[in-house]
Symmetry: C2
Amino acid sequence: MQVWTVANQKGGVGKTTSAVTLGGYAAQAGKRVLLVDLDAQGSMSCYFGLKPQSLRQSSAELMNHEGPISRDLIKDIVVELPYEGLSLLPSSPSLITLERTSQNKRGFGLILGQVLSLLEEDFDLVLIDCPPALGVLMINALVASTRLIIPVQAEFLSLQGFARMQQTVDMVQHSLDTVIDRVVVPTMVDRRTQACQQTVRSLRNEFPVDLWPGHIPIDTKLRDASRLGVPANLYQPSAKGVRAYGALYRYLEQRISSQ
Amino acid sequence: MQVWTVANQKGGVGKTTSAVTLGGYAAQAGKRVLLVDLDAQGSMSCYFGLKPQSLRQSSAELMNHEGPISRDLIKDIVVELPYEGLSLLPSSPSLITLERTSQNKRGFGLILGQVLSLLEEDFDLVLIDCPPALGVLMINALVASTRLIIPVQAEFLSLQGFARMQQTVDMVQHSLDTVIDRVVVPTMVDRRTQACQQTVRSLRNEFPVDLWPGHIPIDTKLRDASRLGVPANLYQPSAKGVRAYGALYRYLEQRISSQ
Ligand SMILES: Nc1ncnc2c1ncn2[C@@H]1O[C@H](COP(=O)(O)OP(=O)(O)OP(=O)(O)O)[C@@H](O)[C@H]1O
Ligand SMILES: Nc1ncnc2c1ncn2[C@@H]1O[C@H](COP(=O)(O)OP(=O)(O)OP(=O)(O)O)[C@@H](O)[C@H]1O
Ligand SMILES: [Mg+2]
Ligand SMILES: [Mg+2]
């Protein structure tokens, strides 16, 4: 089972859109996919028409759970989506209190990893959507992952927090003595503006190894898909932004086999 | 002294851009303006060329301070910007730990209000930029404020967390027995897309009282200004997105006098 985290503490860079759309392509390729919503605002859960504030159980119950967690409990909380091969572990607003309450619990960073290890037989790929913050939830996701996908909007304010993001990943990698494969994905690229092209070029200079050679263009079809609650690859596969995510998914698959 | 908070837990909706650009217009109108960066990722500080990770002192020192805070200490930390009437209380990455460490401190939500009350004689307007999260930093900002400006991107994923934002503000208002004037500002509106116009219309139905009758259009000049570190009203005052912020500033000023 592969576990991919999609994270960046900068807000609005396309984390949720990337996690859902890649999940859609993986399911279409025949994989059994689990989407995990770790963001208290619940964009990924809302994308599929769920109301995080009224769900009885969510990812927060698993993270907050006292005592051992059984596979049956997790399977109870996971929602099967009406799209072949796609399931969702929804979020709830109470995730926000975890930042504060988990401070003193030893080993709190390992919980999500333990939960997902119980699902080895059930899924081929897990995609985790993170909130825009460098907190305990992102640490949990990094610890549980084999790969980190970092969507970056190709413009000034979005690049500022980037170096700190890398430091957090280095710290997690160092303390676990593992390697997390990092892939940086330029998103919402508007070819028409000069500034955008300049930023993509400087990204290539700064991160030659981790940067995906392609980019995701601005495409309103990706927004329309979120409003309709359909993975973009099933909604408008020929749209340019959607096709770009298809190319990204194939790149990530091929990158696994050559690791 | 007026204190305006700019907040929305949804990421990338234009909080930092709104706080800086409104601050620029207020300074141009002769006000003494303090910009406060409460976001650990420090977009507002980066906007003006500061490096939050290497600042010796920041808003985090004030929020973490043991014992009484003097006006001199605050004035030491505040940076005068090279633009007439504009000063900045910068952020630092250590703000992120406040979410976790402040849990047990009684009255932690009141600290920022106490700090700003020491500056009554020094500034006419304070604009607070918040991180994309419903946490203790946003609570601090709301407690210290007379007004809340909520930028909302006119599209599906951005509207989902909106109701919860309103609940948080209701809770703060109720516990302090005060009224915070709320103004919802549609941002990054792209008139060309059908979905956008539909969403702005549904915003008007849902929040008839609090919604600013105008909107901020998509305008790359606002991004260019952030890259150059210049308030947008001084960089390209005739650009359509910049002019829209001018209209918003005038609306907010007139709304004060009629309260
Ligand atoms: N390539 C694209 N073209 C056009 N719009 C896009 C694109 N990618 C994402 N969007 C839209 O931009 C907005 C932000 O995207 P999204 O919510 O996925 O970002 P996020 O990083 O998950 O935000 P948050 O930090 O709040 O979690 C959404 O309205 C989404 O529909
Ligand atoms: N009206 C606009 N037109 C075009 N670009 C805009 C507009 N307003 C903001 N932007 C750009 O969109 C991006 C997001 O804006 P900004 O960083 O101000 O949002 P934010 O809500 O503060 O994000 P965060 O949640 O990370 O704090 C920035 O690159 C900014 O330059
Ligand atoms: Mg998201
Ligand atoms: Mg910001």
